[in-house]
């Protein structure tokens, strides 16, 4: 299992209800079903991914997150997942509101634009960074809302969102002590476990 998914699954209660926004080919939900016996549903718009979910027996709903999640009841899921999708959503701040309306907890992962490689690339080349884990050019990228670990922290404060846990990993999804010490500088992927501040 990928280390980031290993981290995520630690935050999921067995037999809980999980909504995975942008569930891809359903690997994570399938893993959570086998390992934690969760009752999961994924949202996806990519036809090939949807087909993979169905073949795996993962519940999948063809729905565009950007067109709203109003068909989901408030507090109807224990956890709402958003893996590597925040930066591609049209209104990330409102999406976070929706995640915590629908779920008791949210788990959000995104590429950390504050990582030293991005900083170095921009500083030295003067051009938008293109790397293995952010392989697109600025004009054709689906990632329209990049942020850094610090930016996300600030948004959570602004929105009165409680961060239960935060961790960062590199593009191989490995973490170490240095990343823990300098997450915004060394972390390539940020993983947040959040809830509403009551």
């Amino acid at each position: 299992m990928r280390p980031d998914l290993e981290i995520i699954q630690n935050w999921i209660t067995p037999k809980s209800r999980v909504l995975d926004l942008g569930c891809g080919d359903g690997s994570l939900l399938n893993y959570l079903k086998l390992k934690k016996n969760v009752n999961g549903i994924g949202l996806e718009i990519n036809a090939k991914d949807i087909q993979s979910c169905i073949a795996k027996g993962v519940n999948v709903i063809e729905q565009n997150i950007d067109e709203g999640l109003t068909n989901f009841q408030s507090n109807s899921f224990d956890t709402v997942l958003l893996a590597q999708t925040l930066q591609a959503s049209s209104k990330p701040d409102l999406l976070i509101d929706e995640i915590l309306r629908i779920g008791e907890h949210g788990i959000i992962t995104f590429p950390n634009f504050g990582n030293w490689k991005s900083r170095l690339s921009l500083a030295s080349n003067g051009r938008m960074p293109v790397s293995k884990f952010m392989p697109h050019n600025w004009y054709d990228t689906p990632n329209i809302h990049f942020c850094t670990v610090k930016d996300f922290d600030a948004l959570c404060v602004e929105k009165n969102v409680r961060i239960l846990a935060r961790t960062v990993v590199d593009s191989q999804h490995q973490g170490n002590w240095a990343m823990k010490a300098w997450p915004n500088f060394l972390g390539e992927i940020a993983i947040y476990h959040i809830t509403k501040n009551s």
Partner: protein
């Protein structure tokens, strides 16, 4: 020499008839004292009788869903695209049952049957049947076939409504519900179209208050018109456009191509058929009127109008779905304007509210409501993978 059918065809099929002596009380309060259901089966029932799939037909469908009735049969069953060895509903894996619903005109007891108490055609005296009545009678057929639980109940359009009713009324008898191009209830516009169809039938001079068979005739014009209106709602604008909207190469008044798909080289400047789409609709209507009973058409449209499973739950569809314990696959098609994706999304929303296992596919297709009958790759792939998964579950349960 015997005819070679395609390798993925179920081949020649012989319809069977199940007779029921028991009385069936209908939703209307009326009852039927004994009735027949005609049905076909494809594939083999396994020893634990766990691999059965029930097919529910739509407005003008019948029991003949797949295969051929004879060597010389030109046309295969109405859902031959989806039923057969290696197809989405794989008859190598499943035992498939398809019946003609009560009130139908393809062999099951209906208005064109003889009422045993009078010795005359039922005609307009045949009681109005609802989706619920159909499902109850289908459950009786299941008993007769020894099928305690369906691996899946499957249907498109009005068939999809029967699927929902199965899930709500018989939760212990259905493992998977596959509901395609359906709606949780009709819109006012849907009912309006049905009413035009009914009016055109009942106002035909040959309708005779529904007793046309006694008068040895039938309301041909009315039934034709009803079908023409219905047919327009089954196709999308773009599907009609690509079929009939091509520029005509026949008529060339000014050196430029003129108009759309003319039948002959000249405009009639009268009220005869000028365009291909007109003759197509007339042909469809005419063929239909020769093969379908007008009273059955009236009944089927009423069953559509009356369908509303939320009615027993204070209008709350999610509470109706809470009764269900099966898993759901819902599919819709982008250009379907009879039961558009928004209607399927309503079903999805209420299934989510009821916390059911559900998958939903919204398939891009040009062909409108009729898409569910057609070999649209994404639709067939999703359908097939889902049922392959159902078969895997069955096999692992048995192991």
């Amino acid at each position: 020499m015997s005819r070679q059918f395609p390798s993925d065809s179920v081949g020649i099929i012989k319809p069977q008839t199940a007779h029921f002596d028991e009385e069936l009380t209908l939703r209307s309060g009326k009852s039927l004292n004994g009735f027949d259901l005609v049905f076909e089966t494809y594939g083999e029932l396994n020893s634990s009788k766990s691999n059965a799939i029930l097919i529910c037909h739509a407005l003008s469908g019948d029991h003949h869903a797949a295969g051929y009735h004879s060597e010389s049969d030109a046309k295969s069953g109405w859902w031959d695209t989806c039923i057969g060895p290696g197809k989405a509903i794989d008859t190598n894996h499943f035992f498939v049952v398809s019946l003609n619903n009560l009130g139908g005109c393809a062999g099951s007891t209906g208005p064109a049957s003889i009422d045993p108490t009078t010795g005359k055609y039922f005609g307009p005296d045949f009681p109005v049947v609802t989706v619920r009545d159909w499902v109850n009678s289908q459950a009786m057929l299941s008993d007769k076939l020894g099928i305690q639980k369906w691996a899946a109940v499957v249907g498109g359009s009005l068939g999809g409504m029967q699927v929902m009713r199965w899930a709500i009324s018989y939760p212990e008898r259905i493992e998977h519900a596959i509901c395609i191009a359906a709606a949780p209830k009709l819109s006012a516009q849907n009912i309006a179209f049905n009413e035009v169809a009914r009016q055109s039938i009942t106002n035909d001079a040959n309708f005779h208050g529904g007793r046309y068979l006694d008068a040895n005739t039938y309301p041909k014009q009315g039934l034709m018109l009803a079908r023409m209106v219905g047919h327009i709602t089954y196709l999308s604008d773009s599907a009609m456009g690509s079929k009939f909207g091509k520029d005509s190469t026949l008529f060339d008044p000014s050196g430029d191509k003129f108009g759309r798909d003319l039948r002959s080289g000249t405009l009639s400047f009268g009220f005869d058929v000028d365009f291909q789409v007109e003759s197509y609709l007339q042909y469809q209507g005419e063929r239909f009127s020769e093969n379908f009973d007008a009273n059955t058409y009236l009944l089927m449209t009423k069953a559509l109008d009356y369908f509303d499973p939320a009615i027993d739950f204070g209008g709350d569809l999610s509470r109706a779905f809470e009764q269900a314990s099966c898993k759901f696959l819902i599919m819709s098609f982008s250009t379907d304007w009879r039961f558009p994706p928004a209607r399927s999304r309503e079903i999805v929303e209420h299934l989510l509210k009821a916390k059911k296992d559900i998958s939903y596919l919204e398939i891009d297709a040009d062909q409108g409501h009729d898409s569910f009958l057609l070999p649209i790759p994404r639709y067939i792939d999703g359908f097939k993978s889902y049922l392959a998964r159902v078969f895997e579950e069955l096999s692992s349960d048995a192991a």
